[in-house]
Amino acid sequence: MKKLLLSSLIVLIGITFLGRLSYLQIFSFSPDQVKEDPAIKAIYDYPERGYIYDRNGKLLVGNDPAYDVMVIPREVKPLDTLEFCGLLNIDKEKFKKKLKKARIYSPRLPSVLVHQLSKEDYARLQEKMRKYTGFYIQKRSLRYYDTNSGANVLGYISEVNERDLAKNKYYIQGELTGRTGVEKQYEELLRGRKGVQYIQKDRFNRDIGPYKGGTLDTLPIQGKQISLTIDKVLQEYGEKLMVGKRGGIVAIEPSSGEILSMISGPTYDPALLVGRQRSKNYTKLYNDTIANPTWDRSILAQQPPGSPFKALNALIALQEGVLDESTTIRCHNGFYVGRKKRGCHCGGGLRNMNSGIYKSCNAYFAGAFRKIYDKFESTDDGMDVWEKHMKSFGLGNYLGYDLPYGQKGRIPSKEYYDKWYGDNRWSSSYIISNSIGQGEVLATPIQLANMMSAIANRGHYFTPHILKKIEGENIINPQYTEPKRTTIDRKHFEPVIEGLTDVYRKGTARWVQIPDIEVAGKTGTAENFTKIDGVRTQLTDHSVFVAFAPVNNPKIAIAVYIENGYYGSRYAGHIASLMIEKYIKGEVTLKNLEKRMLEKTLEREYAKPYSGEEFKINEYVW
């Protein structure tokens, strides 16, 4: 024992030291040393953020120079706080608070003290800056918008937060990053790469030469100029039409999947989120939880699609061979689900596919839907087939477009109903509402536009996308350049398109015809409910319209979804026709329609549920 005492202590201490050292040098070690090393100062050189153009080379977003006052807390020497605050135009308390916050973030890394000086403040401050050790002015560029529309598509940039810093080691405090929309999606393209120069410092913070002889220093890489698929003129026009309305518009070029415009109403001027008023404006927009202007309805609003879904059910019925275009179904001014009658506004009588579509007969499509299910031995099998066809149109799942947000929509599956009703305790009559786009199905405007694009192409679509060119070169991503096939054979599209064209010629949309352009479209009127004081209350129907044109050489496919706009041809139909004409002809001849859309708002309708009084829905006068 006494002989072993010292030896065992030596071994014990040796092991303890090795343990502690491996903890320090192996487990705590982060390869990111250069950033944290107090002996190395990094001086950054920021490249200009890339410009954003529209599909025709028109500028959407550029840059303006801006000046931030930065502070490195460790280097701050005692100063005349009062004078300095005077120059900075802030009060002393705020100055102290900011300085403290910067010190907590890091005593030796730069933090922003004052954002985006005005040009006058900058001029005044610039000369005197040398007096204040530890502070300096950093030039950076601010986004400049050459349009007042497209806020949600373009997105905005803002300072990185703690989460960004933890997630991506590229950024340091005070830097900007794309927050939503294109700015977020193509952050790395637009941002470029900052250049950096490392300086070796001693503990008194004096420069003692370049670190590693400057071998780690890098030059900045410029941000890329990108062109979007957006048509600036169409986008601005659409937003003008949407004033006072809530909903989304998405227009797609069927032959390429390029998104021509993406409009969400209400929206806001993107310039609001730039400059010194930014946080005030942001709070205001963000706090408007009712109109929700920062919520991009064109890709996020999942709603029952309504009658446009009938076109798909017709296609599926043809594909499955359960009827042909001459098969007739009688409409009794409605149809029966069990003993309960559901209404129809087509006028009743014998319907075939053509009149079923253009008169939007509920009974015809309920019948077609039943036939699809009756073909199979079990509703489970029928459901599977129906779901497979539906999903091949890009419904019920993320479409895969190049924007950072999205919603799946919903195409219910047999599992969904098994869960809802219990295993095998449901049949086609339980789910018949799906035949007319009500029931459990949900879709976003961009999904509806893509569905029309697939019909316009007679059976395939290109995944919608927003990026057209990088530095003038067309994108080559096969995700967007290769067609996606639907499960419906090409030959089945003609009768359906014929019906959709008749919607325009003589059907529910004959009120919004465009001279010299043949349009295939479908109106929709979607029932919807809300809860007022816990009571399920029906609101005025949503107005839906989907279309593509021209019928034989489709240039544009469009979906318009106007919340509480009543029947399909009213708001949505008007807006769709105006957009189509504007895009194809470059000008609008439908002056009456245009005037009506520019003047009319739905604000009164949106106020109803919040008025606390009894109200009527679906009012005829407008």
């Binding site: 006494k2 010292l6 201490i13 040796g14 050292l21 320090l24 390869p31 107090p38 070796q200 003692i208």
Partner: protein, 436 residues
């Protein structure tokens, strides 16, 4: 006796043949690594000559040379010389320590040096050698019986005298080193419960500061209960002594609180607070890192930043920027950590561990008790330096300023640590003669 004297003094290289080369090899490796890192910590841009004695690394190189001469002298001297004159050496070094109060030179607040013109002599370094010799001499005396209280007291007195002389310099770190020689006495038969009591006291001290007296009492009560439940069948616990131990523990714990709060100065409290991670408030922690904990924090960070492979020789950014104070002396280990990484630090830890174990092995194989006891003295002194210095630099012990033997910058240090070691190797080289 006369025969062995002739043999050794007539052919010097026969000593060289018998000296333990493995230990010498470890020694050379440690000195070399030490100098390399002193060079890295002190070299400045545009400096060309290695042998410029105005630079710190140049001076250290000079002392490495002086050490070689000292080694030759130590090995050449007759083996009985050390044992015979050890009391005299001890006396002389105590006089030198006393003389500091009159003639001492003050550097950095401590009056620990004699100014000899070309270099500053630190007699406390010498005293480590002489005390080890004197203790070995006393314990190996035929008249000494370590089981006797009186002899225990004398043995301890040999350690206490230099410690007491060094504390007021002030250099409490160096004074602490002498207490390590108690390991020699343990080896020679001092009952181990002395060690148990000391360890228990340290344990209660730390636990009281870290968890508070209340939790300590609760923990103690739980342990006692478990102890009784397990042992009650086989073993009749003597209640009164057992209870009195508990009472003393609690009283001691209470007195720790008192001493810590009323007798310690703030800087001591801060050091312990830092060591035991008592401060949880991040703001105050930041403050501590800039003031009292600056050295420890910076040296930990420097070591951590080295990673597994290190940044490379002369590439340590924190070393170059001089972020760790005293990096060439007490904190030399952090330079190794930054520039050579885990590979470097592990190598050094292993080198020291192997050297110390080798020396224990050598000590145990001595037939002459004096040699064995001196060998243990050498190991104890080197070990306590290694333990406290590296422990401090890597942040698991409070800040106590003593050098890392053979590595830290310092002329007296290198010279006397070398003499300390090689006297033992000289004794060991003679081991077989003793038997013959």
């Amino acid at each position: 006796m006369g025969r062995s004297l002739r043999l050794t003094s007539m052919s010097g290289n026969s000593v060289l043949k018998r000296v333990d080369w493995l230990s010498v090899l470890f020694y050379i490796a440690i000195v070399f690594i030490g100098w390399l890192n002193i060079y890295s910590s002190t070299v400045t841009e545009g400096e060309s000559s290695l042998f410029n004695f105005n630079t710190l690394h140049g001076k250290q190189l000079f002392f490495a040379g002086a050490s070689v001469i000292a080694i030759m002298l130590v090995l050449a001297l007759e083996v009985n010389f050390y044992e015979r004159f050890s009391s005299l050496f001890y006396l002389l070094s105590m006089i030198l320590l006393l003389g500091l109060f009159v003639f001492g030179k003050t550097i950095a607040g401590a009056t620990s040096w004699y100014d000899l013109g070309f270099f500053n002599l630190q007699p406390s370094e010498l005293a480590k050698v002489t005390t080890a010799l004197a203790l070995a001499k006393y314990l190996s005396d035929i008249q000494t019986d370590i089981k006797r209280r009186k002899d225990q007291l004398y043995a301890l007195l040999i350690l206490f005298i230099p410690a007491v002389l060094i504390i007021p310099q002030p250099d409490p770190g160096s004074a602490l080193v002498f207490f390590a020689l108690i390991f020699v006495i343990f080896r020679e038969g001092l009952p181990l419960y002395y060690l148990g009591i000391v360890l228990l006291a340290i344990l209660i001290f730390v636990a009281t500061l870290k968890f508070g007296t209340l939790w300590l009492c609760i923990g103690l009560a739980l342990l006692t209960t478990v102890f009784f439940l397990v042992k009650r069948k086989t073993f009749k616990v003597p209640i009164i002594p057992f209870a009195s131990v508990l009472v003393i523990t609690v009283l001691f714990s209470l007195s720790v609180n008192f001493v810590f709060n009323s007798v310690f100065e703030q800087r001591h409290r801060d050091r312990f607070g830092l060591w035991l991670r008592l401060e949880k408030d991040p703001k105050k922690l930041e403050q501590i890192r800039k003031t009292i904990g600056y050295n420890t924090y910076q040296s930990e960070k420097a070591i951590e930043s080295g990673g597994f492979f290190g940044k490379g020789f002369l590439e340590g950014t924190r070393t170059k920027g001089d972020f760790v104070p005293e990096q060439h002396s007490d904190y030399i280990f952090s330079t190794i950590g930054e520039e050579w990484g885990f590979i470097g630090t592990a190598t050094v830890v292993l080198l020291f561990t192997f050297l110390l174990l080798r020396l224990v092995y050598l000590a145990e194989r001595q037939k002459n008790p004096f040699s064995r006891m001196y060998g243990y003295g050498v190991v104890s002194i080197l070990f306590i330096h290694f333990f406290i210095n590296v422990g401090m630099v890597i942040g698991i012990l409070p800040t106590i300023g003593i050098p890392l033997p053979y590595m830290s910058y310092g002329g007296s240090g290198l010279l006397f640590f070398t003499i300390l070691l090689f006297i033992f190797l000289r004794l060991d080289a003679n081991r077989l003669k003793e038997g013959a």
